[in-house]
Symmetry: C2
Subunit: 255 residues, 2 copies
């Protein structure tokens, strides 16, 4: 099974597990805060607490990077900040473009967290001619027509898509064709990309839906004190339901 992988092949991360990679930014944030308070060293226990994970996990994560701690003492804060930054590729400058300057795109353009982590917003792009030239976050919005030129002139390899869902795939295709190989997608749609291009998505409503799921559980559990198969509601219960083409089930949702 050489190349023909379906979609997300875990991207051969030179031994560092994906789950660990996803936590490195968390550690980095906690470490940066310590660094700003001039704390010289930190134990796995303390750092784990600051990052919101447990210490065994943190130590295991760090063990994939190397042996950067000192037994009996802990980790040198500055040194670890450097190592993690390097591992994440943050010691270099990453120009990014944001496409789709609506409410969300504008908020992203104004978001300080990017610049402070080695990301530089190289351009803001929107399809609306009326937006062109208007300043957002101190930077003139450019028109989609120039997308390809902007990408190549600035050597951009990371693109952020904040367009409506309908436009996202098209924008994505153009970004990829122009040389972008990493995409952060805020549009509520699935993007199809060729092999070698990474996509990460952030969907605001999905997060709320997951919360709602657990919230519903909590409410249900209040009544059923025992931990059984708490089928508190008279609703359809698991496998036993057989659907009919009609039945008592509402056929449509509140769209």
């Amino acid at each position: 099974m050489a190349t023909g992988r379906t979609h997300r092949p875990a991207t051969r991360s030179r031994g560092i597990p994906e789950a660990t990679v996803a936590r490195l930014p968390l550690y980095l944030r906690a470490l940066t805060a310590l660094s700003e308070r001039s704390v010289p060293t930190v134990s796995s226990e303390e750092l784990a607490a600051a990052a919101g994970v447990n210490s065994a996990k943190l130590r295991k994560d760090f063990s994939y990077l190397g042996s950067y701690g000192t037994r009996g003492v802990g980790y040198d804060v500055e040194y670890l900040v450097y190592q993690i930054s390097r591992e994440l590729g943050l010691t270099q400058d990453w120009p990014v473009v944001i496409v789709g300057i609506g409410n969300l795109g504008a908020a992203l353009a104004n978001y300080g967290g990017f610049a402070s982590r080695g990301f530089r917003v190289a351009a803001l792009i929107d399809a609306d001619p009326a937006m062109a030239g208007k300043p957002v976050a101190g930077m003139p919005v450019q028109h989609t027509d120039d997308l390809e030129k902007i990408i190549s002139d600035n050597g951009v390899s990371i693109g952020v898509i904040a367009t409506p869902a309908g436009a996202a795939q098209q924008v994505c295709d153009r970004l990829v064709a122009a040389g972008v190989t990493s995409i952060l997608n805020f549009a509520p749609t699935v993007l199809t990309v060729p092999d070698g291009v990474d996509v990460r998505k952030v969907d605001l409503s999905i997060e709320l839906q997951i919360l709602a799921f657990h919230e519903q559980r909590k409410a249900g559990e209040e009544s059923a004190a025992d931990d059984g198969d708490g089928a508190a509601e008279p609703a359809v219960t698991k496998a036993q339901h057989r659907k009919g083409p009609d039945g008592d089930v509402p056929a449509v949702m509140p769209a």
Copy 2:
């Protein structure tokens, strides 16, 4: 993907794995699109493609909900929309408050994806007195002083935090004290909450950092064609590095 929850052992989700729950909104979105095109049934293969997962995973996921398909045919779109909505708790109305009406908070307030999924923005709250009364997304911003009253008057159990990092924990504490049991956190900080409260976080810069990590790998791999232990760079390689209190390593990062 942004995960949440401070620690807690998987919140007793009545058998449905957390990973499955996290994908239900994805399926729901794909199904809703099919429904709008009046597609009556769909196979696991088709739906999986539309949701960006593979079909085995999708079938396994659905098997946790019940036997809702028909062998040889596929799934009834409307029926599945209903079942998933119910499972996620979207057949009821969830009032939410957004605290922190800066760029991001305002973007969230304007975001259409909430309302269409059973979430109703009940109030916008900000600490800045100058914001109070100003309309955002057709709704007057209210002052933090009234937070507790707003929560209880509206029966809010889900809160969205979009404040600066420094204010987030305090806002969180007040939300929780007022009765909120689910929190979606956009502030780049770890929130501490009591047992029984769920937190999910979305951190924009973390997603970019993960992309940067993979981006850096891609750049590195270009040189090393063979798939060996591609230690292409002359940099520190795994466990063999021994740190000194100085050495050739820069001690400080570009903050």
